[in-house]
Amino acid sequence: MSIGVNKVFLRSLSNELRGLRFKFLAYVALALFIFIYFYPLIITPKGLIPYVIPPTTSLIVFSILYGVVATFKPYEERVLNLVILFFVIKILTDLTLGVVKGFGLNILTLTSYVGIAMNLMRELPTVLGFEVVRAYLLSKARGGKSVVAFLSISAAFALMNEPITRYVNMLNSSYNEVVNFMFKNYVPALAQNMLLGILYVSGGFNANALYALLDKLYIYTTPLLPNISLGVRSVIAVIQAFVFFSIVEATLKEQDVFSKYSFKLSKNFLSYLIPALIFLLVGALLLSNARLFVVSSGSMVPTLNVGDVVLVVKSNEVGVGDIIAFYVGSEVVIHRVYDVVVDSDGSTYFTTKGDNNDHVDPFKVEPPYVVGKLALVIPYVGIIWIYVMKFFIEYLNLLSFVFFSLILTQSLSFSRWLYGE
């Protein structure tokens, strides 16, 4: 009897010691993980250093934590299939955008094969290290705080998407630069990290690691990418993350997406009416070559006030006294035509003036730069838009924010469901 008790005691002691040893190793792994990110502050990352320290240290982190995170997840198979589907969607999106907007060279692949191989040798092990830490931290999040932990981990990992030196340099940046960084870099990174988190919680380490590895492989080996601006790319990344979220949620909850939404819509007449009105309005605007602008300066007071929304319609008959919208560089100006001048070579241009200005504008407006003639003024309804744009700087940032809000709301309920809270 006493021998049996001793066996139980020794076994529990051995388990206890094993647990302590693993705890110590886990702390070492987390310390190494922090080192991978912060090392450029103490070691200048030049030459081969960035090709050695992050991947080798990540491999060690991966080997320490892999044993803990490689556990069975009920949805693993389904989620792994979805990851493949996501990359098919990604490639198709890029192909479509490339056909519409043209293709450009991917600067990450503008190097020799050795360069591409070196980049992959650096990125792939580093990704494994990051994903194993994400999985480990998420697996530790249990109980009522798991959703908060999920969001915090995603936020921290999204911050790590940019090198620490970038944040150090940003200390001297202007408000506009910080806002643009937030929406063009951080928000897409956060959406991506939340998706990776959800992939781990639902599909296990294989799912988030596979997604992250495929992503890096795609970025570092695709020679051509659609020729679109960073802003558009960011919005597309956020929208993609939102779509992927919805697909994962619908698949896991086995929802019939169409019937779910149509059921909700049929309950509320307004939910039919409002989108229909918006659709009609946008369609009408597009068909009639009309555009809406919000007046943002006082140069046309009292005719047009700050915050007025104006409808501008394309017109070939522009004369003295007409209020027109026209491009000056990339900006649109709405001023009154002061004179129509015929040049010595027979070409025509307009001189313009703001009603509230003392002088004629210092630029010539040639007909191709005219957007259209003022057709309608809706007073002051654009004031909110002006305030919103003061915060967001660009409408693409606002679009990112809208889709990110959707992801956030969705991820909160979805992660609660996954964690069983």
Binding site: V8, T44, G47, V52, P55, T56, I60, F62, G67, P74
Partner: protein, 364 residues
């Protein structure tokens, strides 16, 4: 033979050996990475500048002026270069000049030539005379003399002025010196190099009508010549008695870091796998499926509410049911942790899996 191989495998499988290997590899990894960081903190090569020849040429001038007896000069007839020279009182200048050539490096020999040219420049005409010249050794490192007879010079100038029919407002008497030494130097105890140098100083005596004082200026009196060469010394690193070029050392450090980290990862993962193999089957199941297993010590679970009981012989079947029916698996045991069985309650059906005695033993 087979027993020797088995012994080797056993040694490799032993935990102590693995820990020792991990310590060695970790140390090697840290050293390799530190070596790589160090290799980027030192330059790939150092440059050193050596001088073959460094020669300075210096021309210096002084004079005394012969003047008429006057109150301003206290009836002296000779004045020094520190005093103003009044045109009306000046008779002549006795100029002394030296041309010195010094070298910081050894010179085998110096030869060459020199010339002195006088130029008379007025606002209406100009004329040049060669007044001296010859071998450089005549003037080198010696005090040389040049007398400027102003009475004669201005007689000559007045004559020419009359000839050309004009009177000038400014008169410049310029002495152009030209020293052209050729030096031969022996460098690095073997190589002989020859250099052609030159120094062209200018002594200018100017007079402007309406001003009483004469200007005496000297220009371009010094020149330094230096011939250097650069030696690039590549940086070498000594490791275990081997002298390696820095770029080779960098590649070696990188390779070593990758190999060590790869091996550490391999050993750590295989250790995890093998240590989990050594666990009892029940522990392995609990560990692998911990996300869908909850633990309970209650005896009542699964005993009362169900109308049907399905006994499963394979735990994986229970996992299948749990996944399809989205129900947790309950691990039921007594307070001491023994009498373990797994239960899944699905409405009125209870699935039960009782691990065999073997499942609690360490699998080898």
């Amino acid at each position: 033979m087979v027993s020797k191989l088995n012994l080797k495998l056993k040694v490799f499988k032993s935990q102590g050996f693995r820990i020792a290997l991990l310590i060695v590899l970790t140390t090697a990894f840290v050293i390799s990475t530190a070596g790589l960081v160090y290799s980027y903190s030192v330059p790939t090569a150092t440059r050193e500048v050596y001088t073959y020849v460094k020669v300075s040429q210096k021309f210096s001038v002084d004079y005394v002026a012969y003047v008429k007896e006057s109150l301003i000069y206290d009836n002296r007839t000779v004045i020094t270069s520190r005093e103003p020279i009044y045109f009306k009182l000046l008779k002549g200048l006795n100029v002394t000049y030296t041309y010195v050539l010094t070298s910081e490096t050894p010179i085998k020999n110096v030869r060459g030539s020199y010339t002195v040219t006088l130029a008379l420049n007025t606002t209406s005409w100009s004329k040049t005379f060669t007044i001296a010249g010859g071998d450089l050794s005549e003037v080198l490192n010696k005090t040389n003399y040049l007398y400027i007879n102003f009475t004669e010079l201005f007689d000559y100038i007045s004559k020419v002025d009359k000839e050309v029919g004009g009177s000038s407002k400014t008169y410049d008497i310029i002495y152009y010196f030209s020293f052209k030494p050729t030096i031969t130097a022996v460098v690095n105890n073997s190589k002989t190099l020859t250099y052609q140098l030159s120094l062209t100083p200018k002594v200018k005596v100017s007079y402007e009508v309406g001003k009483s004082v004469i200007d005496f200026t000297v220009q371009d009196t010094e020149k330094e010549f230096k011939d250097t060469y650069e030696l690039i010394n590549p940086t070498y690193v000594r490791v275990f008695g081997l002298t390696l070029d820095l770029s080779v050392f960098r590649l070696a450090s990188m390779t070593s870091s990758f190999i060590c980290s790869g091996l550490i990862a391999f050993i750590a993962i295989t250790s995890t796998i093998s240590s989990s193999r050594e666990k009892p089957l029940v522990d392995k199941l609990i560990n692998k499926y911990k996300d869908i297993i909850i633990a309970s010590t209650s005896d009542e679970i699964g005993t009362t509410q169900a109308s049907r009981k399905v006994v499963l012989t394979d735990f994986k079947d229970m996992v299948k049911v749990a996944t399809i029916r989205k129900k947790p698996i309950i691990k039921v045991s007594n307070e001491a942790g023994s009498n373990v069985r797994f239960i899944l309650v699905d409405d009125d059906v209870i699935y039960e899996y009782i691990p065999s005695e073997e499942s609690f033993k360490i699998q080898k």
